[in-house]
Symmetry: C2
Subunit: 397 residues, 2 copies
């Protein structure tokens, strides 16, 4: 029979092993950081982001901590979107999804096989919090298209700002169906909240992002897809044993385009694209701008259009000007800046300096102004083109 | 004093806890899968990739298991590149890096704070193996630019194919300095191996990928950056307390462009871009093709140019034709295919059908052929443009 001394030694050994296991499983989760520092040391997770200031790209990067973004849909695009925003140190993220992680999702980035079966928002929040504990992450595990949940969703984005009771700064739609897009559209029109819509085709080789500013650009109901306009139930389109294709590449690129434009919008640098498409087969990236439909079915869209028409245009520009002068302290790396291209559609919510300081060199040349007539290769559409013209153009393709 | 019975109970409790800890820490790592299946069930990690066949995009997706890719540099671009290829089920990945993970890397995707201090290749291999145990992953923890290590690198890519002793199918350069790019260039010219170069600017808002086929397109030494041409030591350009900026968005997009073109090349679909740039400030994506320099300093490049000139052009085309007819079993989702745009530069190594089957609709319109004269907005440069012409054009910008 074992002596008491033996048993005690056994207990000590087990306790040591358990202690080591616990240490290594929770190990490395970094401490919170109160203030973003630009100090160039290996232990500073923000040094490469704060360097955007020295490079003359962003003025006062730390403003990102005052921003709150809602990510609706935490799948192939939404999870990578949340990951990027978390690593950029966004102030607050509000996640919406009601789905579970499956092994069938492992062909996209972010989720890992051990998370199969967990709710997407809970699994994502755990990983994101581990990556950057400075970001406040809220999860909402429900379907925003049901009547009750829609009200909860509306209230969550209406009061989800970094400052208690203020709305979020931006809503990002990363959902995979039209019903959810319409719900987001309805909520954002009612609250007059800017949002980005995103999508990836079912054959996995194209995608797009679209910036919707209620009253100023076309909303999702202004030019609805056929399936929405004809009130077809999407579920009737899906068949047993058949699924859409997807690729981590296409979804990663669409998430990258979405978050890059989110950063440009929130931190006032570069030019935010109204619409940016991606065709993976030929690496083609069309851009365009769409005006609102003056007979849109959404009554809040019609109200926002009236608001926008009544708003003095100078006021819109003023919002930007206060922050759009980049710092040019030094030019150690041969900074590359590109002049704003006036033909890309007016984007009053952002600003890029029109002139290039001496000593700076241009990155890729922007498309020549003269080539942007009618139907240019990038499909850029001027602000003067009506929806009817566009519809006619699309039909003739 | 504790009784023997108490101590035994204590031991049992500790053993139970330890057992649970061990189970949850190794939990969820999925079993290997012998053959890729297209069955549409939640537990199949390949269903969304195999769906590319039904969608008519890829012919026999499972060929990816016969492909081996070397990823040189496992940083902001390389780690995401390896992650995407792993989730796509690539046969074999060979990773090269000699750096350690730092908290300062947490502003890009992939690595997590608990990995700080670990070697990048080891940390990456562990995560990738956990995500997809079907991929064979080899790690090489050395600097490829030293004399001895260069020989090891050359040998690793010369014999690193899925079939023992054959070369890898492709080399992806994801390094952050010109010295390493020149080492890869030298090795690939000597071995006549196709490779992609990639890069992100130090201000974090532009990037590019470039497809280099020795003898057929310009190699890295054909038109070297100034710092290489003038033999400047890059280290002298860096200053204490100053670091380059970086963003997860830009790096994720560049990795996405790199892996998307890798998939198109390895699985013969779409058109592989010779050069694809990305300007984040205005969402501009220039493309071009570069011919080799007939007086290139690299003697193997000169040999490859002779080989290429001597190669009957028909043979080059033949390599492709055997596999480039996509399956069109069904068209459940309104498949979108885009015709090859002949003006994008000849890419004999890939093929897209020139005609569109009836019932298929076009995704984004390809740039109109007529608009691709001289300096088009996408900077497409025909194969007939000489390097001198290009240099002259660039100087005049």
């Amino acid at each position: 029979m074992a002596s008491v001394e033996d048993l005690k030694q056994q207990i000590e050994a087990l306790q040591r092993e358990l202690c080591q296991m616990k240490a290594s499983s929770s190990g490395g989760a970094r401490e919170k950081i109160e203030k973003m520092s630009s100090e160039v040391v290996d232990s500073n997770p923000y040094s490469r982001l704060m360097a955007l200031q020295r490079m003359g790209i962003v003025n006062e990067y730390e403003r990102i901590r005052q921003k709150s973004v809602a990510v609706v849909g935490v799948g192939g695009v939404g999870s990578v979107t949340a990951d990027m925003l978390t690593r950029c140190g966004i102030g607050k993220l509000i996640l919406f999804d009601y789905d579970k992680v499956e092994l069938a999702n492992m062909n996209r980035l972010f989720f890992t096989p051990d998370q199969a079966g967990l709710s997407k928002v809970e699994a994502a929040a755990k990983t994101l919090n581990f990556i950057n504990p400075d970001v406040k992450i809220l999860t909402n595990n429900y379907n925003i298209t049901t009547v009750d949940s829609f009200d909860m969703f509306l209230n969550a984005i209406k009061t989800g700002g970094v400052e208690e009771g203020t709305p979020v700064d931006l809503v990002l739609s990363c959902v995979d169906n039209f019903e959810a897009r319409m719900a987001i559209n309805t909520a954002c029109n009612e609250l007059s909240l800017n949002w980005f819509e995103s999508g990836v085709s079912e054959n996995a080789v194209s995608g797009h992002i679209q910036f919707i500013r209620p009253g100023e650009t076309a909303c999702f109901a202004c030019a609805p897809p056929l399936v929405v306009a004809e009130n077809i139930d999407e579920k009737t389109l899906k068949r047993e044993g058949v699924c859409a294709a997807s690729l981590p590449t296409t979804m990663g690129i669409v998430a990258g385009m979405l978050v890059q434009n989110t950063l440009k919008y929130l931190l006032n640098f570069g030019t935010v694209s109204d619409y940016l498409g991606y065709n993976a087969l030929i690496d083609f990236f069309p851009k365009m701008s769409l005006k609102p439909n003056p007979t849109c079915d959404d009554r809040f869209c019609m109200e926002r259009q009236k608001d926008y028409a009544a708003r003095p245009k100078a006021e819109v520009v003023e919002e930007v000007v206060e922050e759009d002068t980049p710092l040019h302290e030094e030019n150690l790396y041969g900074i590359e800046l590109v002049a704003e291209d006036e033909t890309q559609g007016a984007q009053p919510s952002t600003g890029t300096p029109n002139t290039i300081s001496s000593g700076l060199k241009l990155a890729y040349e922007a498309p020549a102004v003269t080539s942007h007539s009618d139907t240019t290769p990038t499909n850029a559409v001027g602000d003067d083109v009506s929806l009817d013209d566009l519809m006619a153009q699309m039909k003739s393709m």
